[in-house]
């Protein structure tokens, strides 16, 4: 919380997230290679790219779970590359909501308790609020169910409720629909639309062209570099049906541009 990081805020008031020349180096391999990226407050960004292109690496660095080898990551006006592991945990707890491909739930806790775990480490568990969060993802009826009693889609919705419970500045979802069927995929994307309309910042990694096309902006990563930055023009006023979306074509994604 040095004054230096505060001065960064002043110049880019709108950007909730700024990556400046970020690289992640594993020995010979540059998993991320000099990446620059700005995400505005309330923006919905999708990240695509082949397997091994560095998508998860980038998400982990943004989420404070991994450290960049080079460059700066400014999250909500704070340069997190300089922070200690302990304060990264605090940043993650206070500013970031995480959703993964696997539906990671504590399997001996009920759905509502799983949401409350995030509250517990953030501040105080509040069952009422946790139930409201489950209601938002349409799972109020299932609050007392254990993970083993929930379908994959339902588990992922619990994870979304948990990611949202502490009002994060930014929602990071790494292939949230990777293990879901079409119907559940649609449910998750529809939740994202509502969150977007409420002003949430969303960054979602996906392999699915339709899910990528639903976002406001799609970024393509290849060999650790950003190769495309595509603006999509979508109408977020009515519920999303993924079937209506063409999906970004291979030419658009991979062609020279």
């Amino acid at each position: 919380m040095a004054d230096k990081s505060k001065s960064v805020t002043a110049q880019d008031n709108e950007d909730i997230l700024v990556l400046e020349g970020v690289s992640k180096i594993y020995g010979e391999l540059k998993a991320l290679n000099n990446v620059d990226l700005k995400v505005k407050k309330g923006e919905w960004v999708a990240i695509m790219g082949p397997s091994g292109s560095g998508k998860s690496t980038m998400m982990n660095i943004i989420g404070g779970m991994d450290k960049a080898s080079e460059g700066r990551v400014i999250l909500d006006g704070m340069d997190i590359t300089k922070e200690s592991a302990k304060s990264l945990t605090n940043i993650r707890r206070d500013k970031i909501g995480l959703i993964f491909q696997q539906f990671h739930m504590v399997n001996y806790l009920t759905a509502v308790e799983n949401v409350m775990v995030a509250q517990y480490y953030h501040s105080m568990p509040d069952e009422e609020e946790a139930l409201q969060a489950l209601d938002r993802v349409g799972l109020k009826e299932r609050a007392k169910h254990y993970p083993s009693q929930l379908s994959g889609g339902e588990q992922q919705r619990v994870c979304i409720a948990r990611a949202l419970i502490n009002y994060p500045k930014i929602l990071l979802a790494d292939e949230p629909t990777g293990n879901l069927d079409e119907t559940n995929e649609n449910v998750v994307v529809e939740i994202f639309r509502q969150l977007h309309n409420e002003g949430s910042t969303i960054i979602v990694v996906t392999h699915d062209p339709e899910v990528a096309a639903v976002a406001e902006r799609t970024i393509v990563l290849e060999h650790g570099r950003i190769t495309k930055n595509i603006i999509n023009h979508n109408d977020y006023s009515k519920p999303i049906n993924l079937r209506d979306y063409e999906g970004l074509s291979d030419e658009m994604l991979l062609g020279k541009g």
């Binding site: 707890r93 990671h104 504590v106 517990y120 480490y121």
Partner: protein
């Protein structure tokens, strides 16, 4: 929430937790047994070692000089005496609790079938009240437990009876049940032989009767010629050897240390302080070995305790680490959600500590039983349970649980949420 998470682990990993509790219980039970036996072993070993007899002899000052000079005891018996009334004073010295047994002797030559024989009067199972109000049973019977008796031990009321050593018995053709007549100067006494004994030493040529009967025969009412004392002692070291030569040569601080340690020389010194005009001498080898054996046994028990605890710490190390490993996803998730290392460690440690408490309680109960089994098989008597053993075992168990959790905690700290959460 914390409580719900703990409860969750216990229901989910019940088997593993029980195994950890069991491992801790094993260590705790051995530690409990050893600590209690160790605390009580002084009394037990002491009771065992008493069988080796006296380790201090107390004699009148003049007599000791004579016997030291000429190496004879017999001629002195008639010259110098201690007062029987001085005996309770033995239990007034600083280390009185270390004096476990003592018996007085009144010795003198008597005539039997026209030849000389040594007659000794003593206590056999004397009951007395000490000046401090303690009641005490003492006497030769407890100090000479290895004597091989054919017939029955005398008691202190058997003033008309005697025990004859096997040497004398063979010489004069005496058997248990016979009646013998002994003469001393003008007086004579008639005793029924209650037993013939075999000691394998000089006493085989002696005749033993009660102190009262001997005092009457010799006309020495209220007098004794020596005392044998069985005392529990600390092995000698450099300090006690210097002190034994000349206590006055010590510095004030050394003197204090020496006086307040149960060295045989310190006990002798204190006996000489308590009983006027006496000389207390250590029968050194025996006194040394008693203390040394005691210390060795205690060292052995400390070693067993330490090994048991180390063993159970090592045992749970694997179990706790495996339990944490099994839950790596859950732990990674907690970290990702914003749990600090210290909070996750707190969660895991609380579980282990609860498990340790369960194991510790079970182990303590089992250990008390084990202590009794050891007492019964090794010492043929029960072990007194020492109250301090409970907090001591509790502290040891918690240490074991803590140490046993170290590898798991290191793993916890290293665990990176990204690795666990992205692996398929």
């Amino acid at each position: 929430m914390f409580f719900r998470m703990i409860r969750g682990t216990f229901t989910k990993q019940l088997g593993k937790m029980l195994l950890i509790a069991f491992t801790i219980a094993l260590g705790a039970s051995l530690a409990t047994a050893m600590i209690n036996v160790m605390m009580d072993v002084g009394n037990k070993v002491n009771a065992e070692l008493k069988t080796y007899g006296a380790n201090i002899t107390v004699s009148p000052k003049g007599a000791s000089i004579l016997s030291d000079l000429y190496g004879v005891e017999e001629g002195t018996g008639d010259d110098e005496f201690l007062s029987e009334e001085a005996l309770p004073k033995l239990k007034t010295i600083f280390w009185s609790y270390n004096i476990v047994d003592f018996t007085p002797y009144l010795k003198g030559r008597v005539t039997l079938d026209e030849s000389d024989v040594m007659l000794v009067g003593t206590w056999f199972d004397h009951h007395m009240e000490t000046p401090s109000g303690e009641s005490l049973d003492t006497g030769m019977r407890e100090m000479k437990t290895w004597w091989d008796i054919e017939g029955e031990w005398l008691t202190d009321d058997d003033d008309d009876e005697c025990m004859v050593g096997i040497g004398a018995a063979q010489k004069y053709g005496i058997a248990a049940g016979d009646t013998i007549t002994v003469n001393k100067g003008g007086s004579s006494a008639e005793y029924t032989v209650k037993a013939v004994f075999d000691t394998g030493s000089d006493e085989d040529d002696y005749i033993y009767t009660t102190l009262k009967a001997a005092q009457e025969l010799f006309g020495r009412q209220g007098l004794i010629s020596s005392i044998e004392v069985s005392a529990l002692t600390t092995p000698d070291n450099e300090l006690s050897k210097r002190a034994a030569q000349d206590p006055q040569s010590l510095s004030a601080a050394d003197w204090e240390t020496w006086y307040c340690t149960a060295y045989v020389s310190a006990i002798c010194y204190q006996i000489e302080e308590a009983i006027p005009d006496c000389s207390a001498k250590a029968i050194r080898q025996v006194a040394d070995s008693e203390g040394a054996i005691l210390e060795k046994i205690q060292l052995l028990m400390i070693l067993i305790t330490a090994l048991a605890l180390i063993g159970s710490a090592l045992g749970i190390m694997n179990l706790v680490a495996a339990s944490v490993m099994e839950r790596s996803q859950e732990i990674g998730l907690l970290k990702a959600v914003g749990a600090h290392d210290i909070q996750v460690i707190g969660l895991v440690l609380t579980e282990i500590m609860l498990t340790a408490v369960l194991g510790g309680v079970l182990g303590y109960i089992a250990g008390m039983g084990l202590a009794q089994i050891i007492g019964m098989t090794v010492f043929s008597s029960s072990i007194a349970i020492t109250p301090v053993s409970m907090p001591l075992v509790a502290v040891l168990v918690l240490c074991v649980a803590l140490i046993g959790s170290i590898p798991a905690i290191r793993m916890l700290v290293k665990m990176n949420p990204t690795e666990v959460l992205h692996s398929n």
